[in-house]
C-alpha cells in the first residue's frame, strides 16, 4: 500500500520516510520545520537522527529489526532535541519513522515557534500544553493562598508571644528566649521585677488606673533597656527583664536602681496621679556552673532574690548568692 504524500504529512507531521537504501525520501512538515531548511531529502537517515535506545542504530536493517519498539533518539545538529520514535517497514524495503516530542513538547514549541496546526488533530500535544499552563495557573493560586496563610500564621504567633495590655513579651516569649540562651551556652542575667504598692492602686483607684500604671511601667522598662533585650510581663504586676550581654554586677545594679527610680515617678491618671515602686531580684546564669533545674531553677533563684529585696524593705534590688540558696 502506498499513501499519497499529503496523507502522510497530515496524519504524521513528524515522520520521516526512509528508502530501501537508507536515504531520506521525505519529511513530515513539522519535522522539516524543526530540522531547519536544507536538512532532509537525500541524506542518510542516520545523518538526521541519532537513535541510542534500545541500542545504537547505524543502518536500515538494524532500524527494521527494532520495528514496533519504542525508540529514544536525538535530532542531530543545532536542534539537538530528544524525541521518541516508532519505526515500521513501508512494504517496499524501506521504513517509516514517526516521531513525538514526548514530555519535551513545551520546550520544543517554545524553541521552534510551533502552532497548533503543526500537530495532527489527534495528537495530545496541544492538550498537554494546555494542561501545563492550567496547572501552573492553579499552582500559583495555591501558592498565593499559602503565602497569605503563612503571613497570618506569623501574625498569630506574634500575638501569642505578646502581652496585649502592655505590648511586652509574655511568659511564653520569656521561656523561649531563656531556653535558647541556655542552649547557646551564654552568660546572662535574669531580673525579676515586682511592683510595690500596686495592689493599693488597683483597689483604691480602680482597674483602669492600674492598667495605666502597668503601661507606664512597661514604657519605662523599654526606655531603659536596649532593643534586643527581652522585657516580659509574666503575671499581674510581675515582670522579667533579660538584658542580653550585661552580666557585670555594678552595671546590673545601676540598671536596677535606674528602673526603680523611674518607676517611682508618679503616673498621671484622670483625677490625679498614682505612685508605685518596685523590687528586683537578680540571678545570673553561668554556663560553666548552671542551675541544675534549668530555666525553672534560674527563675526560682531570681524569685528568692526578689523576696530577699522585699524583706529588706522594698524599693531595692538584691542578687541571688549561691551560698544563700
Amino acid at each position: 500500500m502506498s499513501l499519497p504524500p499529503e496523507t502522510m504529512a497530515t496524519l504524521m507531521p513528524l515522520h520521516m520516510a526512509i528508502g530501501a537504501d537508507g536515504q531520506v525520501v521525505s519529511l513530515g512538515p513539522t519535522l522539516a520545520k524543526v530540522l531547519g531548511p536544507g536538512a532532509g531529502e537525500g541524506a542518510a537517515f542516520t545523518q538526521l537522527v541519532e537513535i541510542y535506545r534500545p541500542r545504537a542504530v547505524a543502518t536500515l536493517p538494524v532500524l527494521l529489526s527494532l520495528a514496533g519498539r519504542k525508540l529514544q533518539l536525538r535530532l542531530r545538529g543545532r536542534a539537538g532535541l530528544a524525541m521518541k520514535g516508532l519505526a515500521m517497514p513501508d512494504g517496499r524495503g524501506g521504513a517509516v519513522l514517526n516521531l513525538s516530542f514526548g514530555i519535551g513538547v513545551v520546550e520544543a514549541v517554545r524553541r521552534h515557534a510551533l502552532t497548533s496546526s503543526d500537530f495532527a488533530a489527534t495528537d495530545l500535544a496541544i492538550d498537554m500544553l494546555y494542561l501545563v499552563e492550567a496547572k501552573s495557573a492553579a499552582m500559583e493560586s495555591s501558592r498565593t493562598l499559602n503565602r497569605r496563610l503563612q503571613g497570618a500564621m506569623q501574625a498569630a504567633e506574634q500575638r501569642a508571644f505578646t502581652d496585649p495590655l502592655t505590648g511586652l513579651g509574655n511568659r511564653r516569649a520569656m521561656d523561649q528566649l531563656l531556653q535558647r540562651l541556655i542552649r547557646g551556652g551564654e552568660r546572662f542575667a535574669v531580673l525579676h521585677l515586682d511592683l510595690d504598692h500596686f495592689k493599693q492602686v488597683n483597689d483604691s483607684r480602680g482597674h483602669a488606673a492600674g492598667d495605666r500604671v502597668l503601661q507606664a511601667v512597661a514604657r519605662t522598662m523599654l526606655d531603659l533597656t536596649r532593643k534586643n533585650d527581652l522585657v516580659a510581663r509574666i503575671g499581674g504586676d510581675e515582670f522579667v527583664i533579660l538584658p542580653l550581654g550585661l552580666t557585670d554586677h555594678e552595671r546590673l545594679s545601676d540598671l536596677a536602681r535606674q528602673l526603680i527610680a523611674r518607676i517611682e515617678e508618679p503616673v498621671p491618671i484622670e483625677d490625679g496621679a498614682c505612685q508605685v515602686s518596685a523590687s528586683i531580684g537578680i540571678s545570673l546564669h553561668d554556663p560553666d556552673n548552671p542551675s541544675p533545674a534549668g530555666v525553672a531553677g534560674l527563675l526560682a533563684q531570681a524569685d528568692s532574690a526578689l523576696y530577699a529585696a522585699k524583706r529588706e524593705g522594698r524599693s531595692r534590688h538584691a542578687f541571688h548568692r549561691a551560698e544563700a540558696a
Partner: protein, 204 residues
C-alpha cells in the same frame, strides 16, 4: 461553591471599581472577611449576597454586572492566563464554539474540584447556534450572563464579528443565541503556543 468563582467576583469589583468600592460592598454583604480565597469553598448564598450588594452600590442590574464579569475574565490583563487557556479551544471562533462542550472537562483538568455547568451547543437553522447552559443546584444563578460576556470577549479576541445575546432561562436551562457573521472580521489578538508567561518566581 468553589472559591475561584467567589474570588473572581471580588477581583472584578476591585479591578473595575477600586478597593474602596469593594470594601463597601463587602461591608454591605456582611462578609466575615473581606477577602475570598480562590482555593477554599464558600456558600453560594454568600456570593449571591455580594452580588446583591454590588447591584445596590453600583446601581446596575445584576445581569449587566455578570456580563461585565465575563468580559473582564477574558480581556483584563490580570487574566491573561485564562485568556490563553480559552484560546486552546480552537483556531478560530467557530472552532472555539465547537470546543465549548469540553469546557467543564477542561476546567476540571486544571482544578479537579471546579464544577462548571454543563454546556451544549446546538446548530440553528440558517447557520446560527444555540448554547444551552445547564446550571446545577450548587451553582450561583446567572452564570449564563457571565458566559455571554466571555463569548463577546472571545469573539473580539479571535477578531470575529458575532451577534449574541441571552434569550432567557427556563427550568435551570439558560439559552444564548449566537450568530457568527464573519470569523476573520478584524485582526484579533495573537495567540502564540509557546508564549505562556514564565513561571512566577517565589516571593513576587
Amino acid at each position: 461553591m468553589h472559591g475561584l468563582l467567589a474570588r473572581t467576583l471580588q477581583c472584578f469589583l476591585q479591578d473595575t471599581y477600586g478597593l474602596g468600592t469593594w470594601a463597601e460592598i463587602a461591608r454591605r454583604a456582611d462578609l466575615d472577611s473581606p477577602d475570598f480565597e480562590a482555593m477554599l469553598d464558600y456558600e453560594p448564598a454568600t456570593v449571591e449576597r455580594v452580588l446583591a450588594a454590588a447591584v445596590q452600590r453600583l446601581d446596575k442590574p445584576g445581569e449587566a454586572i455578570l456580563e461585565d464579569i465575563g468580559t473582564y475574565l477574558i480581556s483584563h490583563h490580570n487574566n491573561e492566563g485564562l485568556r490563553r487557556l480559552m484560546r486552546y479551544g480552537g483556531l478560530d471562533f467557530i472552532d472555539f464554539l465547537h470546543s465549548l462542550e469540553d469546557l467543564p472537562g477542561r476546567a476540571r483538568l486544571a482544578v479537579a474540584d471546579l464544577d462548571l455547568p454543563e454546556l451544549e451547543l446546538c446548530d440553528r437553522e440558517g447557520g446560527g447556534f444555540d448554547l444551552i447552559c445547564r446550571a446545577g443546584s450548587t451553582h450561583p444563578r446567572g452564570l449564563g450572563h457571565v458566559l455571554v460576556g466571555v463569548l463577546r470577549a472571545m469573539a473580539d479576541d479571535y477578531g470575529a464579528l458575532v451577534i449574541l445575546g441571552h434569550s432567557g432561562a427556563s427550568a435551570g436551562r439558560e439559552r444564548i443565541e449566537i450568530t457568527v457573521v464573519q470569523t476573520d472580521f478584524a485582526a484579533g489578538r495573537s495567540f502564540d503556543l509557546g508564549g505562556a508567561p514564565p513561571s512566577p518566581v517565589e516571593g513576587q
